[in-house]
């Protein structure tokens, strides 16, 4: 079974301090000093693909897993890690373009990659990126390919070469479905799927395998139907009064007496 995991390397925004949130005239926020990381949805997608591969001896279904990103050079560190984790192939579609709010273009590239460069049975995508928060790419890829899509996936089992059992969250619970490939699976909240760390031996043996590099210029991009007009930093500030005291006990008593007692009586 051919599985393509599509991911995005993005800055860890929680590392920015208040003063860093400056929007320039081109509607950019400088995050160049932050190391690119994977968001938790993409981490889960990668780990789930690796676990399916681990289980292939038991399921008797060979898993050919490939990882792909659209990124500029700094993502290389993550791609080397994926090599070390023994993904069969790692692909970077090189781009210096601003894709933060262009899910339509990303979906177009991914679907063209599948149609023209490498036939796949299943695509894994994380729910949304931390920067754009578009939450559209997986759906648009599915629409462009004419494939079905299951969103908020929380569990996947391989049944045979052409069938999976997929558990996903829906608005009032979960649904477990036996499905036929091909399909797009959008990975949602999946506890305990932190991406594994490769061994030093695997880093040495596999980390430096070549990465397939394509360019976004290989793809003729469609016009976007949504356009960014403005960005404004949101202020969430409140009073932020520090409760002082010699000991935690003193502070707790002050908190209750001055701030909580009356409020809790009204609840």
């Amino acid at each position: 079974m051919n599985i393509l995991v599509c991911f995005i390397a993005a800055p860890d925004l929680d590392k920015l301090i208040e003063e860093d949130w400056v929007i320039d005239k081109d509607l950019q926020i400088d995050t160049s000093f932050l190391k690119p990381t994977l968001n938790s949805y993409d981490e889960s997608a990668i780990e789930i693909a690796l676990r399916l591969s681990d289980a292939s001896q038991k399921t008797k279904v060979s898993i050919n897993h490939k990882a792909l990103t659209i990124a500029s050079t700094p993502a290389t560190t993550i791609l080397k890690t994926l090599n070390a984790l023994r993904f069969k192939q790692v692909v970077r579609i090189d781009s210096q373009d601003d894709f933060r709010f262009r899910p339509g273009a990303i979906a177009y590239i991914l679907s063209q990659y599948v149609l023209k460069h490498a036939t796949q049975d299943v695509l894994f995508l994380g729910r949304q990126s931390t920067v754009g928060e578009n939450a559209k790419t997986h759906l648009l890829v599915a629409e462009r390919l004419g494939w079905p899509c299951i969103t908020q996936v929380s569990g996947i089992e391989v049944i045979d070469e052409n069938h999976l059992v997929v558990t996903s969250q829906v608005d009032d619970g979960q649904i477990r479905q036996k499905i036929q490939t091909p399909c797009v699976l959008c990975i949602g909240e999946v506890p305990n799927t932190f991406m594994r760390v490769p061994t030093i031996k695997d880093r040495m043996l596999y980390g430096k395998r070549p990465i397939e590099i394509l360019s976004t210029t290989d793809f003729q991009l469609p016009d976007e139907t949504e356009e960014l007009l403005d960005l404004k930093v949101i202020s969430h500030e409140r009073h932020g009064i520090f409760i002082e005291g010699e000991t935690p006990e003193q502070k707790a008593r002050e908190l209750y007496k001055m701030y909580l007692k009356e409020r809790l009586e009204k609840i």
Binding site: W21, T151, P191, T225, I234, R238, P248, A252, Y259
Partner: protein, 322 residues
Amino acid sequence: MIYKGILNGCSTDIATQAGELNNFISDNLHSEDTVGSTILFYSEKEQRDALIRLVPTESVKLVRITRYQPENILKALTTMEQGEMTHLYLFPSGFAGSEMAVRLAFRMKGSSLVQVKQIEYSGVQLIASKTVYANHVLGTFKLTKKPYCVSLAKGSANDQAINTRDKLIVTEYDMTHLHENQFIKASKAIPRKQASNLTNTRFLLIGGNGMKNKADTQYLKQIADTIGADFGVSRPVAMSGWTSLHRQVGVSGSMTKAAVCIVAGASGAAAFYAGIEKSKFIVAINTDSRAPINKTSDVAIIDDYKAVLDELVKVMREDRPI
């Protein structure tokens, strides 16, 4: 402008969906030249009348289906809406709403945006805003192609009552003949065992990354039970599997609006804060004086959260038996 709200009456969260639409319509779509209606999908005949009472517009199209299945809903919508002059389709904030907004726009050659907070229509384009950069920034976007399909931002429902009126039912459609998509070979719905009770809680205690293991989570849950608070966690705690996902607070979990919210051991990442920002009073307890949560809370204590909470239990017991 002509708009249509789309409701999924097959889901048990239908009242929340209707509340969100009602609130969004009253805030954004009140000009005189705006005409709105609702398309309501449902499957259980006996629920029909109760569902109609939730509809936030005067006219409604009722569409009966066998069960909610995205492909079938899309097929039904594109068939029913072909040739209609609808400018805007509004979907609730849930998983289904965002999926439908994007896919319907693609199939109808329109434009879409999900998790939208506000809209403004100029006659030729729709301007919509939503949070980006993990809830740190508000982005304003122009949608250029009609129909505009948007899903609403999570937590936009409020307690505003829906005007009950004699609904004018425009049309009833029976789409129970639509077959399951063939890629599904078998399916089983697993209803949520424990309904999320955090959205409407009045008193909330939340544990963050300062909880280092399952025992810490259990300790904090016990404190919450003792002081009469509901218990929530930040995303990293939920992803560690130390408690069930329904306790997660933030953009990926519950959006709460407690009268009093105590946050223990959390730094206050913006995506988490979105889940508590509507709280009336926020208390932060953590050991990092530079943590963002200190500035975004009403009061903050810099200290070990366990020592503070243990004493809080004592003082509350002294003051009133708990």
